[in-house]
Symmetry: C2
Subunit: 157 residues, 2 copies
């Protein structure tokens, strides 16, 4: 049976499809590390403390999905190895990570404050995600918005 809400399928929801790709345990943390400049398998292991076989599987999925790409590198006197770099598709996941970070900073951080601050390279000011509409109304909250069926909405019985 096609799962549905108020008569519309939820199977082709973009949140669901996104989570089918990045919603597995460790995947978003692997991407967090990639944004922090980590590129090499051993450095991912050190930063995450996750099992090596899990990390291998997550990196493979991210490469298969075009979110990371493999790039050869060679240290002097060593054989050629591969490192992992974010693609454009991967880079565009940053806002989702930042939104999760912001929520965590507000609701889960130690009393002393967050462990990380995200700042604008240009001016050094703190960076935040904000919700706004195309007419220029900004600083919206979930209460200010609503969801309507889009062009891809599928009616189900």
């Amino acid at each position: 049976m096609d799962p549905n809400r108020f008569g519309y399928s939820t199977l082709n929801c973009s949140i669901r499809r996104t989570l089918d790709i990045v919603g597995e345990r460790w995947t978003l943390l692997v991407l967090r590390e990639a944004f922090s400049g980590v590129r090499r398998f051993e450095d991912f292991v050190g930063a995450l403390g996750c099992p090596r076989d899990v990390l291998s599987a997550r990196l493979r999925t991210l490469v298969d999905e075009g979110i990371l790409r493999r790039e050869p590198y060679r240290e002097p006197g060593r054989r050629v190895r591969e490192q992992y770099r974010l693609t454009e598709k991967g880079i565009e996941l940053f806002p989702a990570l930042l939104a999760l970070l912001q929520w965590g900073d507000r609701w889960t951080a130690d009393p002393i404050g967050p462990s990380v601050e995200v700042t604008h390279r240009g001016c050094g000011a703190p960076v935040t995600m904000t919700m706004g509409c195309e007419q220029g109304h900004g600083q919206l909250s979930a209460r200010d918005v609503t969801a309507i069926p889009g062009p891809g909405a599928r009616k189900v019985a």
Copy 2:
């Protein structure tokens, strides 16, 4: 061993803590449904198509974490039952869901377009998440920002 990146622990990262709460399979989809107005167990089952025992566990976690709250309701002639409502802590997760939705709309939607559109109740215009800094520089991308140790950063060897 404390996992670390460039000398700082990654254990108290707010992304990690957030994912420890909402990063399990189905949890963010349960919240998506809550934002869509779903409140009752049977309606969550119908909208998600997920196993009932998994849904029970996810709802329990979300209540324990203060993201959903239970509220009694009674239909005429029936016994009192419980429904699930978003708390303020829960409502503030909407930007993270919207950021995931936006990425999915761009990279995973059907050619015909997204299944859902999020609009501003006030004016009907499409709503988006944007990244900006406190100095007013807007429309930033991941390339424009950097992360620095915050007050809660923990140095490790």
